[in-house]
């Protein structure tokens, strides 16, 4: 610990956007542009737009660190990995890497569908930087991990997608570089296999190797990484221990969930109360981008009362899954907390000490009565996201197709 293995100083990567549909240039266009600018006698008529995917990025990663890289889509995570992997050249700055770095930016890079499993293991291994001797030495391990013994001589185009992914990950998992760079590859494969992958990655990193891991799966990041980096618009926002970086990421303003309800005109009710906004907060009242399974979450509804005092305010929030199926009903009538007098209040919080929803997107409907009369009813008021979190402290959650909820429970035998 403590020895820097990757040092980046002022790293920047600029992409030039040509503002055209095609990524590559057609010679015709170049000739056309040149001809036009000759006729006009001026410079080129379209100035290509530049955009910095990474800017002024400086950081140090120590030997043996397992670093999670988080950020929204387009924050520069993949660009950073590609620069570190030497796939693309930085525009400015400098990185020093001590040791062999292998990157796994995609599962099964270079797999050829016509070749057999055996042949693809060798091909893929060599593409990832293994020598023939290294592959041969680990061949049996790879095959066992991928569970494809029976199909070794079958062309991989006949594999099921699950087998294909298993085989591809197995090859990559048996790389033994000093630094392993992994991009969102765990998003593929079934839950069982993802667990196996995380286990394998833990094993890899416990051997003292340095791992850089990009993921949108906060549970995987928290479970696997001992530190994290948060990127926004190509810049480093925060680097530190995983829980605080993940918390910062989820509460950051750029990502926070805030829904403006004031303009909605499809509401019903007397109008004694009008809901004007919805936001997600953490236990301390900070805005959140998404709730996290197992962590405190507050659904905050702001409102106005245009017609005066609010007596006997009752609020119900119905939560639906993505199929529109009602899965949860939160109401202050059932909890026995109807507000006798809510005059002067500006928002209502519904507090869940440990969010029981599994990762996904949920919709909600609002219903409220004042003095027994329907006051504001907003059907399908909005949606919010739940990110995966470490509910049980095991890094594991049920698979996505195994219901919508999680409950505290334990097992025993007698």
């Amino acid at each position: 610990m403590g020895t820097p293995i990757i040092t980046a100083e002022g790293l920047g990567k600029r992409f030039v956007l040509h503002g055209q549909r095609e990524r590559y240039t057609a010679l015709r266009d170049v000739i056309g542009r040149k001809a036009r600018s000759l006729l006009k006698g001026g410079g080129p008529d379209t100035v290509p737009q530049a955009f910095w995917a990474l800017k002024d990025l400086s950081f140090t990663i120590n030997e043996g660190d397992r670093v999670g890289i988080v950020g929204r889509n387009g924050a520069g995570k993949s660009t950073l990995l590609k620069v570190l992997s030497r796939i693309i050249d930085p525009t400015e700055g400098r990185v020093e890497i001590k040791g062999r770095l292998a990157s796994l930016l995609e599962v099964g890079t270079g797999f050829h569908p016509e070749l057999s499993g055996r042949e693809n293991i060798y091909l893929n291994g060599s593409i990832l930087g293994m020598s023939r001797a290294e592959i041969t030495a680990r061949f049996d391990e790879i095959v066992a991990f991928a569970e494809v013994e029976k199909f070794l001589d079958t062309p991989v185009k006949r594999y099921s997608s699950g087998m294909y992914v298993r085989l591809a990950f197995a090859v990559a998992a048996h790389l033994e570089p000093e630094i392993l760079v992994v991009d969102e590859v765990l998003a593929v494969g079934d839950a069982e296999f993802q667990r196996k992958c995380i286990g394998k990655m833990k094993e890899v990193s416990s051997g003292g190797r340095t791992v850089l891991f990009v993921s949108h799966n906060m549970a995987a990041v928290q479970n696997l990484c001992n530190s994290a980096m948060y990127l926004r618009h190509g810049q480093l926002v925060m680097q530190g221990d995983t829980p605080s970086v993940v918390a910062e990421y989820l509460r950051s303003a750029e990502t926070s969930t805030r829904i403006d309800l004031a303009a909605r005109d499809d509401r019903q009710g007397s109008g004694a109360i009008r809901f004007t906004g919805f936001s997600l907060c953490d236990g301390a009242g900070n805005d959140l981008a998404a709730a996290m399974t197992g962590s405190p979450v507050v659904f905050r509804f702001s409102f106005t009362a245009p017609t005066g005092p609010l007596r006997n305010l009752h609020l119900a929030m119905g939560i639906d899954d993505i199929y529109g199926q009602r899965i949860l009903h939160l109401s202050n009538e059932t909890t026995g907390q109807v507000f006798a007098d809510a005059t002067g209040a500006t928002h209502i919080d519904i507090r869940l000490p440990r969010c029981p929803l599994l990762p996904g997107t949920y919709g909600f409907t609002l219903f409220s009565t004042v003095n027994g009369e329907i006051a504001d009813y907003l059907f399908n008021a909005g949606t919010f996201h739940v990110e995966s979190g470490d509910f049980f402290g095991t890094g594991r959650l049920p698979a996505g197709d195994q219901g919508s909820f999680i409950a505290e429970h334990s097992f025993s035998i007698a």
Binding site: F15, R23, Y24, T25, A26, L27, R28, V30, K82, V83, L84, S85, R86, I87, I88, D89, P90, T91, E92, G93, R94, V95, E96, I97, K98, G99, R100, L101, S103, L105, E106, T109, G110, H112, E114, L115, E119, Y122, L123, S126, I127, L128, G129, S131, R132, P155, E178
Partner: protein, 279 residues
């Protein structure tokens, strides 16, 4: 000892050739992949490696015969044409393969690091394997005609290497241009097709160099074709004194070939860092 890698704009060029050497294993695997995949799901499989050069040979032989290109005493026309068809095929397939190697493997270029030159080099390796088959055909034909080469045949590897360098220089140029301008995907087949007719395959270089009807300027342009030196060399190796080398033409061709190689390598190296950005 740990290797330290410095990544900075333009820093990669330092250990370019040793880096390339380290990746020779990958080069072999990629060539092996192309060979393995080539004849999958074909009915006659590897026989294609025999059939393809024979078809070109037949067509070129017919054209040479029809237009009455000169054939030295005692050399069967079919052997003369075969001695040019085989290296031409090597050039054409290596050139075409190298030119398309980047965009054909764009999934690798954008996902994995390796010296980009590994890709065109591996396609050249594949062409050399085809060439081995073609050489066998050539020597079988010579046996059938009871026409065995003299000691000059020992120089053949030199001209094989020259054919490879000619293909590599132009192929690297095309590969790099192809990444940026996809137009070159359509230009490459045209060059190969056109090249077959202006290269002395169906005829001999002497039909041009010793022809009083051909102006000097045209002779010079003809000699600028890198394959002229290769094919003249091949014919010299196989038929010795019957096919003497026309030195001014040979040296011009050789010079152009080496110049293209230097330019091709330089252009490729200058642009390869941006390949993953635009491919």
């Amino acid at each position: 000892m740990r290797t330290t890698i410095i990544i900075a704009p333009g820093a990669r060029t330092k250990h370019y050739w040793s880096d390339l050497w380290r990746y020779r294993g990958l080069l072999g695997f990629l060539a092996w992949r192309d060979v393995m995949v080539r004849y999958k799901q074909t009915a006659i499989g590897v026989l294609w490696a025999v059939v393809r050069p024979l078809i070109t040979l037949a067509a070129m032989w017919f054209i040479g015969w029809l237009f009455g290109s000169t054939v030295p005493e005692g050399v069967p026309r079919v052997l003369l044409v075969a001695a040019a068809t085989m290296p031409w095929q090597l050039f054409a397939s290596a050139f075409d393969g190298a030119a398309n190697s980047m965009i054909g493997n764009s999934n690798l270029v954008t996902k994995v690091y390796f010296p980009r030159m590994v890709l065109p080099l591996s396609t050249v390796l594949v062409s050399l394997i085809d060439m081995a088959v073609a050489l066998v055909i050539l020597f079988v034909l010579m046996l059938l005609h009871a026409h065995l080469p003299g000691p000059e045949v020992l120089l053949l590897p030199v001209f094989l290497a020259l054919a490879v360098l000619a293909a590599l220089g132009t192929g690297l140029y095309m590969a790099a241009l192809n990444v940026k301008y996809r137009d070159f995907r359509y230009i490459v087949p045209v060059i190969v097709q056109f090249g077959l007719y202006i290269t002395p395959v169906a005829f001999s270089s002497s039909d041009v160099f010793a022809n009083p009807r051909v102006p000097e300027a045209v002779k010079f342009i003809f000699a600028c074709n890198p394959m002229v030196a290769v094919i003249d060399g091949f014919r010299f190796c196989l038929f010795g004194g019957d096919m003497p080398i026309h030195w001014p033409g040979f040296l011009t061709s050789l010079g152009v070939s080496l110049l293209l190689l230097v330019l091709g390598v330089r252009y490729f190296r200058r642009t390869e860092k941006g390949f993953a950005d635009i491919i």
